[in-house]
């Protein structure tokens, strides 16, 4: 499989009132053909800037962004416009032309590419059919709901037969139910049209639901990148841990007490390991919090437990979990 995008040591610096601000610091990653690639981070982490370097809406300060081995920075204005026909984008605010009908909006990229009127109308209708809004073709966007507007934007994005679809917080303005529907639609398009999708989001649930791989951006830097199931089961960077694991609000009930986090993946989530612990060692732990999530049908979970006071007991318990193949890490107070 070849790479759709390849970013090498990308830096982006803004100058504002003489002050410099590094929005991206040394970001290197690749997006592979056919995958759904998530880019997640807190707001202000630089993910919107990052996605805009992929179609050169933002110029990089240094480093290179390659689209199918073509360095975007080397392209002349006309060549860049040509390439942009292959890189579609949808936005948080939908960005439809309100004074034009749904059909006319869906036609836009084809009109820009110079496709004849009859042909582009037909194509735009096909795209509206895919997103389930063919019956709204003569309606103006103001009459549509948020979810419907995003569907029109997706139809518009697909019209020019792009190789990749960039989604900039495409579901952030939508409620959870509509978000789910839009994500299902994106997944369907990804599978049926073999369309590579890059998704920018601050919501873990979006990544969880449809992404194959994920990059975590923290303060302009790439904190971690990998398969979603790896990052979710074993986050290495602090930024990843913060996103994957909810923070622990508890202090140990005794100053000498210890709080640990037990992380388990699909192979262990069906085992009653706490019960086993009690049965085998006779020691008890206090469960402070626990949660599981399903990534691609496999259950991942974590549990925060407080261990008994005796350090001997603590060791016994940790050994029991570790031997069982669970990942145990110390939790700092108020992490």
């Amino acid at each position: 499989m070849s790479n759709v995008f390849e970013l090498t040591n990308v830096y982006k610096t803004y100058k504002n009132d003489g002050k410099e601000f590094e929005a991206l610091k040394d970001v290197s990653l690749e997006v592979r053909e056919g995958e759904i690639f998530g880019i997640i981070g807190m707001s202000g982490a630089g993910k919107s800037t990052l996605v805009r370097t992929l179609n050169r809406l933002e110029e990089v300060t240094s480093g290179s962004v390659k689209f199918y081995d073509k360095d975007l920075a080397s392209l002349k204005a006309r060549e860049l416009r040509e390439v942009r026909h292959s890189i579609s984008m949808i936005f948080q605010g939908f960005n439809l032309v309100n004074q034009r009908t749904v059909l006319s909006n869906a036609e836009q990229p084809l009109k820009i590419a110079g496709v004849p009127r009859k042909e582009r109308k037909e194509k735009a209708r096909q795209m509206l059919e895919i997103v389930g809004l063919l019956d709204k073709q003569d309606v103006f966007p103001a009459r549509l709901s948020g979810g419907q507007k995003q569907r029109v934007a997706i139809a518009r994005a697909l019209a020019a037969d792009p190789k990749v679809l960039l989604c900039d917080e495409a579901t952030s303005a939508l409620d959870p139910k509509i978000t789910g529907e839009i994500l299902d639609l994106l997944k369907k398009i990804n599978l049926e049209r073999k369309l590579t999708i890059v998704i920018i989001t601050h919501e873990m649930s979006v990544v969880e639901k449809i992404c194959d791989r994920v990059a975590i951006i923290d303060d302009g830097s790439l904190a971690e990148v990998g398969d979603v199931k790896d990052v979710f089961s074993n986050p290495k960077s602090n930024a990843a841990k913060k996103l994957v694991f909810p923070s622990n609000p508890f202090d140990p009930s005794d100053p000498s007490g210890r709080i640990v986090r037990i992380v388990f993946d699909g192979t262990h989530s069906s085992e009653p390991f706490i019960a086993n612990l009690v049965e085998k060692t006779g020691l008890k732990v206090n469960i402070l919090s626990a949660n599981t999530r399903s990534v691609g049908g496999i259950g991942y979970g974590q549990m925060i437990v407080e261990l008994p006071e005796s350090s001997e007991d603590q060791k016994t318990i940790i050994d029991f979990f570790t031997e069982g193949g669970l990942n145990v890490t110390e939790v700092e107070h108020h992490e």
Partner: protein, 217 residues
């Protein structure tokens, strides 16, 4: 009111319409592109260009800050050069046009500024060139606002046209001035003023209706 004055008022109405129509038309032919350039070359816009923006902005500001009456007088030689005379209805169209151009330019600029920048980003991401984006995305999206601005501009031109009477222009303004003011014929004054008010209201109403009809939001 004598039959003579009634006739004069009637032709005055036509002259006022003539001046307003042509001056508005010509001022849009020049002012609209200027407004688009002002918009597109300003900071952070598609064709950002400080020098072009500063030069056009300066000219527009200077012409706009001149009181129209002064502009009328200043433009007499230019008017004579363009139409061969400096008095009459046709001659009035020249200073009216010149006076309206900067207003139109700023009005167009501000209408375009209202367009959601996200639409421009979307157009750019689709591979549209800056000029294409302006013609096919920004101007259509700004149409209701442009029409609303248009009504205000036409009403302003109509108001200015009345002033042209001072330096020998035609129309209702000239009649109001000659009969109503210099000859103390209050009935003529009030008739012409009422007519002018009705005309402005008419233009305003048409503009608002057109704007509403096109607005899809």
């Amino acid at each position: 009111m004598s039959e003579y004055i009634r006739q004069a008022i009637l032709s005055g109405i036509l002259e006022t319409f003539e001046m307003t129509f042509f001056a508005s038309l010509f001022s849009y032919i020049v002012g609209m592109p200027l407004g688009v350039i002002l918009y597109a070359t300003s900071k952070g816009r598609l064709l950002e260009n400080r020098i072009v923006n500063a030069v056009i902005g300066f000219i527009v500001n200077v012409t706009r800050s001149l009181p129209f009456l002064i502009l009328l007088v200043l433009l007499i030689p230019f008017t004579r050069f363009v139409v061969g005379s400096s008095i009459g209805t046709v001659a009035s169209i020249v200073p009216l046009t010149v006076g309206a151009i900067p207003i139109v330019a700023r009005m167009v600029e501000s209408s375009l500024n209202e367009v959601n920048p996200g639409i421009i980003e979307a157009a750019t991401s689709m591979g549209a060139s800056p000029v294409y984006t302006i013609i096919h995305f920004i101007i259509p999206e700004a149409t209701p606002s442009l029409l609303q601005g248009g009504a205000i501009n036409v009403a302003t031109v109509l108001g200015y046209s009345a002033m042209a009477g001072v330096i020998g222009g035609g129309g209702l303004g000239a009649i109001a001035l000659q009969y109503g003011y210099y000859r103390y014929q209050k009935d003529v004054l009030w008739t012409t003023v009422t007519l002018l008010i009705i005309m402005v209201m008419l233009i305003q109403e048409i503009g608002i209706r057109l704007s509403k009809k096109t607005r899809k939001v």
